[in-house]
């Protein structure tokens, strides 16, 4: 049976993963906007 710690690791990990993705997206946007390479 899947333990509480495994369940927690997957769920909390996914939340922080989404947060990291959001930060990467904002960082890339700012960098490409500065370089005028958005589109």
């Amino acid at each position: 049976m899947i333990s509480a710690s495994t369940l927690g690791l997957v769920i909390v990990g996914s939340l922080f993963w989404v947060l990291a993705g959001l930060s990467i997206l904002v960082f890339l946007f700012i960098r490409e906007r500065r370089k005028k390479k958005l589109w």
Binding site: M1, V10, I11, G13, G21, L22, L25, L28, L38, W39
Partner: protein, 476 residues
């Protein structure tokens, strides 16, 4: 009026109209950059990594992702959420295809170009039938989900809510083409990710995971099994459904042609990275229903019901309801606009040139493009109006798109193939998949469709294969 509505209908109307007005204004503003047909359909082929990655991710986050992931969690537990996440692997695989796609079709515009080049008129016709069934059922199911959402969350009658959401998306896509789609997708993807993080952390704060785990152990221990056959089959089924969908649909091919060549692979890989945790983060909130004592009346509304309760407990009240509405609206709009644009491109470029034998004149791109988007939007509205269970057609198309996986791989990477055998594999794979859908279950349909088509494709490689036609044969 039902007391369970989380926000007033006037608030719902206000939110959608305000956001809609913003999308239309931005679409119109960005659309001014589209001074040519290539600008309108492919945003000038110069989209960077940030906007490219965001639009690919946002397109793949549909209302199915945010609404069905909690249902998967409720039925299959951890494996259900992971099964849904495997749909992102299609994006990772497509990232690997990107260099070859751009090499094979440097001036390509649609997925139809690829099928016409590699499999001729018969293969292209088969592709068009499958992709139009799939894209239209996806589009209509999104419009229906939008109407249902506004009715459930704000008490807005279904037909009014559905028409409102569809009208907003048609308007901004029509004014701005691909520029509007990609620009709004970026903002929508930020809202979706932020909303999921906020709601997820609030749920985590209110229901300690140890408590949720203990509740599941007591009431639904099967959800925590390491080996759950139906859930494991769902993992592979979703994986293959995702592969088939991403490999064939023009939504992804149009982005493959729209992003700058040097960032193409990275844009798809970034989108896969961003998308992978979304079904888990959006789905796990269903596991909080039991510990919080929430009675799930409508299984399909699990996500919004739990989220509304959690945000209410956190004292966010109307703001919480509005947040849920905005996040779900963005997840729908980001898919509806992409489907409108990509399906219209197929009709405008492929259908007019290869069936009507009357390609669009370059100077008329805006008029024709807007007309076709309006037409596709109108057909979607008519099909969504009776509230038929179109979502079933979307699930039924799993084996159809699954049977296109191997022909796409073959067309991209093999030097020669027996076209007739490969095309027979698409037809028989689709039929076998549909048969297994009804006689065994949805969780094996895409597996069977893909398996049959794979056998035929591998056979087609070795039995009387002939070389693919040269690249110059792409003339219509």
């Amino acid at each position: 009026m039902n007391d369970s509505f989380t926000i007033e209908s006037s608030t719902g109307w206000g939110l959608i109209l305000s956001l809609g007005a913003l999308w239309v204004l931005l679409g119109w503003h960005w659309g001014k950059k589209a001074t040519s047909e290539e600008g309108f359909t492919l945003a000038g082929r110069k989209v960077g990594l940030a906007l490219g990655g965001a639009t690919i991710m946002a397109t793949w986050v549909t209302s199915n992702t945010t609404m069905l992931a909690p249902v998967f969690a409720l039925k299959f537990g951890l494996w259900g959420m992971l099964a849904y996440s495997t749909a992102s692997f299609g994006l990772f695989m497509f990232a690997l295809f990107m260099p070859r796609i751009r090499e094979l079709l440097p001036d390509g515009v649609t997925a139809g170009d690829f099928f016409y080049l590699r499999f001729g008129k018969a293969g292209w016709t088969l592709f068009m039938v499958i992709t139009l069934v799939y894209s239209l059922s996806w589009l209509v199911s999104m419009a229906i989900a939008g109407g249902d959402l506004l009715e459930a969350l704000a008490g807005i009658p279904y037909q009014q809510g559905m028409s409102l959401i569809l009208m907003v998306c048609v308007l901004y896509t029509l004014f701005g083409g691909m520029y509007a789609v990609i620009g709004t997708d970026f903002i929508q993807s930020l809202i979706i990710l932020l909303g999921i993080v906020v709601i997820g952390f609030l749920v985590w704060g209110q229901v300690p995971l140890a408590k949720a785990h203990a509740h599941i152990v007591t009431h639904q221990p099967s959800l925590l099994l390491w080996v759950m056959p139906a859930a494991l089959l769902a993992v592979f089924n979703n994986l293959l459904f995702g592969f088939g969908e991403v490999f064939h649909n023009n939504v992804w091919w149009s982005r493959a042609f729209a992003v700058r060549k040097e960032v193409g692979s990275r844009a798809f890989a970034l989108a896969g990275f961003l998308w992978f945790p979304v079904p888990i983060a959006a789905g796990f909130i269903a596991l909080a229903a039991g510990p919080l004592g929430i009675n799930i009346v409508d299984e399909n509304q699990t996500g919004p019901t739990v989220a509304a309760a959690v945000l209410g407990n956190a004292g966010l009240g109307v703001f919480g309801g509005g947040l849920i509405l905005v996040v779900l609206f963005c997840s729908m709009a980001s898919s509806i606009d992409s489907l409108l644009a990509a399906t219209s491109d197929l009709l405008m470029k492929d259908f007019s040139a290869r069936v009507l034998k009357h390609p669009t004149r370059p100077e008329n791109f805006r008029k024709v493009g807007a007309g076709v988007i309006f037409l596709v939007g109108g057909v979607t509205w008519l099909l969504a109006l009776p509230h038929w269970p179109i979502i079933n057609v979307l699930f039924l198309s799993g084996p159809l798109v699954g049977s296109l996986i191997w022909p796409v791989i073959a067309g991209l990477f093999w030097e020669e193939i027996n076209r007739s055998v490969a095309l027979a594999g698409i037809v028989l794979g689709s039929l076998a998949g549909l048969f297994s859908y009804f006689w065994i279950g949805w969780f094996v349909a895409a597996l069977v469709g893909t398996g049959v088509s794979m056998l035929f494709s591998l056979t087609a490689r070795y039995i009387r294969p002939s070389s693919f036609p040269p690249l110059c044969s792409l003339k219509t």
